[in-house]
Amino acid sequence: MGLRRLHRALLRPGVLNLQGSRAGPEVTGPAFPANASANRSSVWFARTGTFMHKSNWLTGLLLGLLLGAPGATLAQSAEERAEAIAEGGQQASDAAADGLAGETGEVVGRLATAEWQEVRDAIEALAEVGDADALPVLRALQDGRLYYDEADRVLVEDAADQSLRDAITGDDVEREGLQLSRPPLTNPIRRSLRPVIGQLQIFADDVQLRRAAAEELADRPQAAILPRLQDALEQETDGEVSRLLRIAVARLQLDDEDAGIRLDAVETIGAIRSSRLKGSLERFLRTDADGAYTEPDAAVRDAARAAISAIEQREQLSRLLSDLVYGLSMGSVLLLAALGLAIIFGLMRVINMAHGELLMIGAYTTFVVQNLFVLHAPELFNFYLVAAVPAAFLVTGAVGIVMERGVIRHLYARPLETLLATWGISLILMQTARTIFGAQNVRIVSPEWFSGSVQLMQGVSLSTSRVGVILFAFFVVGLVWFLMTRTRLGLEVRAVMQNREMAAAMGVSANRVDMWTFGAGAGVAGLGGVALSQIVNVGPELGQAYIVDSFMVVVLGGVGNILGSVTSALGLGVFSKFLEPVTGAVLAKILLFVAIIIFIQWRPQGIFALKGRSAED
């Protein structure tokens, strides 16, 4: 079971992107659109309805939060379903196939055999027929979901609900009483399946599928399908797919006998400037033992040289750009993690060591909201993030207010004690999360629209979740700015922070302002948690990794200065991204710490020193 889940998790399109995005520039992965069919949603609803259909959202939330162990098991099954929804798109394309046309149907019928040679021949025949409708059958074969019965009917099993349907006629088939066998799936068959699926897929109607197929072909083109590639290239309307196809074609043409075609291919590559073809071009410039070029034609060699330098230029540019973009992305994560602290520590001067745990609560709230959507409104699953944002703000804000009223307000005059008490709170919160949700990381599935990737330019693509986090960071900064400068609460907060006694004398209830400030800061931390839940693992120790970083951001930016925190977070992100390739991630972080400590020596007030009377205490 564990292995299968791992396998599935790795196969899931978003996952590889996500991990790649931490290490460096990533490749555009295949992404499948979500159009989970309504009838499957109702199946879930019926299944879950037996034990939860009458409870409303609030009780559901309470259930999730309060019922330790049952909550966790419920959460687990919900997680799996969330995953299934996210995978939905892939199976939806299976369901789309209604019967198969004459020749394709005939060849698919030949799959009903126990001989692997016959299966292989049938696959090759399907490749020749070139009908994209045969794709679901081939994919079912690849996943071991293809069966045939005693009447030699070829049956496809639905990945989601295990129902069977006839591959040729498209009719549903009752499983009862059938003697099912699987066609053999040996390694040679697997090997021949992949390219065939790929080349059929480039004719698919769905752009995402075509892109995935073209990606595969650009990496491993096969000489045999060159004519089909050229056909596909002519029909192709999508820019990215046709670029990939041109790479595949050019790569094949590099080996052509005709020097003219080789030259064309090299020039095409120079125009596309795709770095993955640099290696193939360098081959032309190699010399053999006698010092003669392996490539006889001088024009081709010159073109190759020009193309290589063009590619290298592009590579440099894209490296610079991607470092910058990744730095910004990392910086905005830091910013989201630190903004809440910038309010609580920056404005109230309360050292809140439980800040990391507020992030964690925000992330777990996202998890609970996700599961509530799966259980109660699977058809709206894609929008759970939208609901998670206010939910996380309110839940963490409430936790913050409880902390402030219960403990912190008694300690305002004693900052060091506040530090220790909030550390104690953080331990309790961490252990509470562990008790409710288990010590393992919980699985958060990004909604479909949040798990693809966005290509900024060739070679620089960023997963959508990273882009989303950057945008979300701006949103949260805007929110904080609005809260602080455009609301009565903000006015009172600033008044109390500047001169507590005077504000109190003017009728501001300083005590209450403290409470709301702390609540708002905690709520903003919760928003940071929502963002983190989409890009890092969510577990009880989530917050621990961010606490020191957050303090560094706030101290560097200047305590009490939110704009300073924004600058320092983004600056730290970009700086460490440029440092990382030279020193490695860990050393980069240590160097940054040292740099910050030295910087504070030089400018104790942070980047932007406050000016005026309130600056020095």
């Binding site: 252990q431 621990q544 020191v548 240590i590 400590i597 504070i600």
Partner: protein, 365 residues
């Protein structure tokens, strides 16, 4: 009156207190070994070897608490980075132990993974014990001196200082987690064989380590007591209570703070060096910020500003930790968390303060 006041600040005592002190020393130095060695294993008074080693480890932690109390309780500087000094002392000792466990010319795996078959240069001198002993004091001491010099010079105080010390230990932890640093990466140093030619697993060596730890704590206590009751100690207390006023009176707080800060780090280094052979392992986890904060709660629970309180706090918290993690491992963090909150809210002067209140001689000073 003044003398009585100093005594109270020091958490010390008149003749009766000295008697108690001697009794405690006797219990630790004589009674425990006797119960371990002379009393037969069947007797309920017998102290098994594991308990002796456990007590030895607690004594090392008590020394850390003393060191932290010196800097926090008396000078008012909260350090959340003492785990780094403790671990550095431990690493120095661990390097000596590892170096001599491979005396036949081999090198441990983590060095082979770096692609070399010989000890890196910085490992070489650790084969000598005298060098190791020097380094146990110097490595934490020099680091603390440099760090303290820059921090105190620019008058980083209070919570800001606490946070940068936390960043210090966090950064050190990251550094030591790297395999390339050459001290064992995330597994740290373990599999120690011999110390000064004796097997570290031997019961006799264990007993000797216990006794050395006990002597270190007693020595540390007396040294700290000497400092806090001296004129120097009064300046430290003055810095804690009103640093600006001390400066205006003509003292330069930098020197005093730097001295006591460095001394405190060295004491931690000694504690770490004695701790490691008794646990048999040192890894970067000891530098985790959480470890250092936990140290602060030992002192806070016992009662900061009293040396006895620091010792008692270390004993109480670690004793509870051993018990609770053995019986209800899930509850320990709740327990520790609640301890932090309760101590800060209701026991600002710790357990010692509680006693003083009961005896009616406490009150706000």
């Amino acid at each position: 009156m003044a003398q009585a006041r100093i005594n109270r600040i020091a958490g010390l005592h008149g003749p009766a207190g000295w008697l108690l002190f001697l009794l405690a020393v006797a219990a630790v130095l004589v009674l425990m070994p006797v119960l371990n060695r002379v009393v037969s294993p069947e007797s309920i008074f017998h102290v098994p070897n594991w308990m002796l080693t456990l007590t030895g480890r607690f004594l090392c932690l008590a020394l850390v608490a003393l060191a932290l109390d010196l800097i926090w309780g008396y000078t008012g500087i909260l350090s959340l980075g003492h785990g780094a000094f403790f671990a550095l002392g431990g690493y120095v000792m661990g390097m000596h132990l590892t170096r001599n466990s491979y005396a036949d010319g081999g090198v441990p795996n983590f060095i082979q993974f770096l692609g070399v078959s010989e000890w890196p240069w910085f490992w070489v001198p650790f084969q000598w014990f005298w060098f190791t002993a020097l380094m146990i004091l110097l490595v934490p001491g020099v680091l603390a001196f440099l760090f303290g010099f820059f921090a105190f010079r620019s008058r980083v105080r209070g919570v800001y200082f606490a946070i940068i010390t936390q960043a210090l230990t966090f950064g050190m932890m990251l550094l030591f987690f790297r395999t390339e640093t050459g001290v064992g990466g995330d597994t740290g140093l373990t599999n120690f064989q011999t110390l000064l030619g004796f097997s570290v697993r031997d019961a006799d060596t264990r007993l000797a380590l216990y006794l050395v730890s006990a002597l270190a704590v007693i020595g540390g206590y007396l040294a700290c007591r000497y400092i806090v009751t001296s004129k120097l100690g009064r300046v430290l207390t003055a810095i804690r209570d009103a640093e600006s006023r001390v400066r205006f009176t003509g003292y330069n707080p930098l020197r005093y703070k730097l001295f006591v800060w460095t001394l405190s780090a060295m004491l931690c280094g000694v504690a770490g060096a004695l701790y490691v052979p008794q646990t048999g392992v040192i890894n970067p986890g000891e530098m985790a910020p959480a470890q250092s904060i936990e140290m602060a709660v030992w002192v806070a629970l016992g009662g900061r500003g009293t040396l006895v309180g620091a010792l008692a706090g270390a004993g109480i918290v670690n004793g509870m930790k051993s018990y609770v993690t053995a019986v209800h491992p899930d509850l320990w963090l709740f327990f520790l968390g609640a301890l932090f909150i309760i101590v800060t809210l209701f026991l600002p002067r710790g357990v010692v303060g509680l006693f003083q209140r009961v005896r009616g001689e406490g009150g706000r000073s």
